[in-house]
Subunit: 503 residues, 2 copies
């Protein structure tokens, strides 16, 4: 075979793997959104079978041989070479897993997840501690055979944010500790704005239709996607031309739907913006979880919680709910939706304290992987850190260490990508404001097209042709730095809490 | 391996194939119900990949070896042996297909289907005739390598209704010709009842909720299934505990939703009644298309168009739509919904003329496969037969030979199963009335539980452990005969058309 037909053979194999994985995604989406309850048993086996088939195809000897042949071929284009290198990295990692380990991990995760569900219901962390400890031990075993530079945590974070290390995260979170934590303390000491108007009765139907309008305004392509309802909002895709978002509606909390909808919409625009012609190749896939989250957070916070955005959208909202909002002025609405408060639950935190929740989880994960603490210490350490960083006493483990599903899934190293995403978002948005002429006035008039196009052209088009660090430098001119986020929040919150200006 | 672990290995392989096929079913369901339009390209490739994987697994040498070993093992139970024999039959058939033929067939079907869609839109049969002729030629080729007894048509019908032959169909349709056709002619000559009240404005929301109530009344288990909306109503399943039905709602035709809902509900009760523990084995799957259709038609017609059913349900319906129905008496409603008329479109035909539509298609299929006619003769032959059997002049091919999708899919031999299903239904319902004490008064009071249970216990429990003929004999005491259907319609329609009594 010549180089060209070799590459076509390589692409065909990659697309076959993608076909199976996207099929799994359809089954998972259906499971979350529509599946009747008794369907779960067969669905679990169907997903396991598809996972097995995808694994077999993605570690096939033929694929490995094609990669090597093509990599040693000097006529391969730069873009193709990048795809080959990325694929080889995944291929080599996957080969490190023995079937025995994969099955053991799958069993341990199932047990830990079931134990977590029960423990959360009954507020009984101890009933779950042994299963979680087993999972931690197994993750450490995984780190060993995957290999890492300086710290086992490197192997964990690398699965979600390729190129990130414990050292780079330490730098970032040290800045969070020295800059954001004191800033949050200052804000929390001030009189908060009122936001009671957000918790009136907001009927489901009106919220649902409004959510669709928001997605439409963002430029979500409904011919290439749809929105449904699920318990936990998420985005998934079965190609860049079939992207599904979900939202949830709380009739007593107007904000829940609005920002989950804009957040998932941001994820969805990224997926819809990936090149359809690169289906199955790294260049057709999202770059990293941090970059993915940067897209959702940029829309949710930098746009969706901005004054400019609501200059256009608040009158619309007032028209939908005149009984609750006609007497609330835009200024007060804006301040209310940006109220900062020390709370127990990460997923409902404001955009400032959110990162303290993540910081706490990062510190605990590192300590666990260092074996400085063991799982049984988690509740007391959790509560100690919530007292230290947020000044609050966790009342019980359900509102504390048991709140998140992630650890029970074995997803250690995942949480930091949430903060990384927000910090990237601030840096990216700063560049957008410089590069897009009239962005602010666009947004004030409800025109979000230029922003979407800029993100398409600068972030979405390239898939995984760069590392996150490379792409960040390419577009913003420098590597990820907390300073943009700090500048953004200092400016924003001094408008909401005027006393800050004198701080 | 001993026999037991050998059978477990066999079962595991069969379940793997089922996992893949049911995954495809999820993707197909989503495609019909929710998929955004641009999702179709990737979906097509995902389905093709899954089909390829399922085929590979279902013709694997290991599977063939296990079947042979187990079949020669005297300790295998009768039930297991039946599963092995059924599997071997499918396995041997699948082995007869060359990859080349499968690909050629797939391409030809795609072309024919696309050509049919265009031809139907533009009422231009000739633009599609060549593609269809190619498909007919290919089907004849398929018959040759599959093998058959007396007639190539045997190989076609055998794919949908194992055990049926052209000879057995000829017997059945000769009876249709000599008994049903003259009866229909007699009915059509009489003054029809009025049914204009069915075509008022019936709002979608009310219809949708009513449909769910009908399914509930039938005993559809919503924990093991759900209903959605699609262009063409259908039933699919991803296990016996996840059965999906769809319906369509026409706001100007009350009947469309009601009987499509009950019809699909009948299919769904069959799937929900199959033994979950036999997932992936023939004994966990439906018996034949004719038996499947017998379940849907029994509910749709023998129950859902009966006077007894509406004794309970008509007052409910009147309450939903008092503006249109309060002045229509139950007797007139019952007569109206059973109006017989000669019409062009099979899918909206009444339960009498329906079988004349099928008879016409059967005659044409046999003539095509006999090469007595070629595709280019189809329109004139179609129109001649509609004149002959239904006494109507087909105005154009869109309302004639172009109306059905089946032939463009290569589904020759499929249509007869619709009639077989209705004829089985009449015979089965006759037995149900004998065996279920108080069935009529159950139905008059809206209690359908005993009927469902009887069907579960006599038809659903056994999956494909029998042939259709065996099961029919086992339950009804004799083989399929048109006489039950004729008795049923003669009795029924002489109540609706009193002049028939004197005929």
């Amino acid at each position: 075979m010549d180089n060209n037909s070799n590459f076509e053979a390589f692409k065909a194999k990659m697309q076959k793997v993608a076909d199976i994985n996207y099929s799994s995604a359809v089954l998972q989406w259906d499971q979350e959104v529509f599946m009747p309850e008794k369907g779960s048993e067969a669905r679990a086996r169907q997903l396991a079978t598809l996972a097995g088939l995808a694994h077999e195809e993605s570690v096939s000897k033929e694929l490995g041989k094609l990669i090597e042949e093509l990599l040693s071929d000097a006529t391969v284009t730069d873009k193709d070479r990048r795809n080959l290198i990325e694929t080889k990295r995944n291929y080599s990692d996957k080969l490190k897993y023995s079937t025995e380990f994969v099955m053991k991990m799958s069993r341990t995760v199932s047990e830990a997840f079931n134990a977590w569900q029960k423990a959360k219901k009954s507020n009984d962390f101890n009933s779950y501690a042994d299963q979680l400890q087993k999972l931690v031990d197994l993750k450490l075993e995984e780190c060993e055979f995957l290999g890492y530079g300086n710290h086992p945590y490197d192997a964990l974070i690398n699965q979600y944010e390729h190129g990130a290390t414990k050292a780079s995260l330490d730098t970032l979170f040290n800045d969070v500790r020295s800059q954001l934590v004191p800033f949050v303390k200052k804000v929390l000491a001030l009189d908060p704005p009122d936001n009671k108007f957000m918790y009136k009765y907001y009927p489901k139907d009106v919220q649902w239709k409004h959510g669709l309008k928001l997605l439409e305004q963002m430029g979500f392509d409904f011919k290439s996607g749809r929105q449904d309802i699920s318990t936990h909002p998420f985005t998934t895709n079965f190609s860049s031309q079939d992207v599904r978002v979900t939202t949830r509606i709380n009739e007593n909390d107007l904000g829940e739907m609005i920002w989950s909808c804009i957040h998932e919409g941001g994820h969805a625009l990224y997926e819809q913006g990936l090149p359809a012609s690169d289906y199955g190749l790294p260049s057709g896939e999202y770059l990293s979880l941090g970059i993915h989250e940067s897209q959702s957070r940029l829309w949710e916070n930098n746009v969706g919680r901005s004054y400019s955005f609501w200059e256009h959208n608040y009158p619309v909202l007032q028209n939908l709910y005149p009984e609750h909002l006609s007497t609330i002025r835009l200024d007060d609405f804006y301040k209310g939706i940006n109220k900062v408060s020390a709370s127990f639950i990460r997923t409902s935190a404001d955009e400032l304290t959110y990162h303290l929740h993540v910081l706490i989880r990062y510190e605990l994960e590192v300590a666990l992987m260092d074996r400085q603490i063991s799982v049984k210490d988690l509740p007391s350490e959790w509560n100690r850190l919530y007292k230290e960083y947020l000044g609050i006493n966790v009342p019980d483990d359900t509102k504390g260490v048991l709140q998140d599903v992630h650890w029970s899934h074995g997803s250690f190293g995942y949480f930091p990508t949430y903060s990384i995403g927000s910090f990237y978002a601030a840096q990216i948005y700063n560049t957008a404001e410089i590069q897009i002429t009239g962005l602010k006035s666009d947004i004030r008039s409800g025109n979000l097209v230029n922003l979407k196009k800029w993100l398409n052209d600068n972030f979405h088009y390239c898939g995984r042709q760069y590392t996150a660090e490379e792409l960040c430098k390419l577009v913003t001119g420098e590597q990820l730095s907390l300073s943009y986020f700090m500048d953004y929040v200092q400016q924003k919150y001094s408008g909401i809490y005027p006393q800050l200006k004198n701080g």
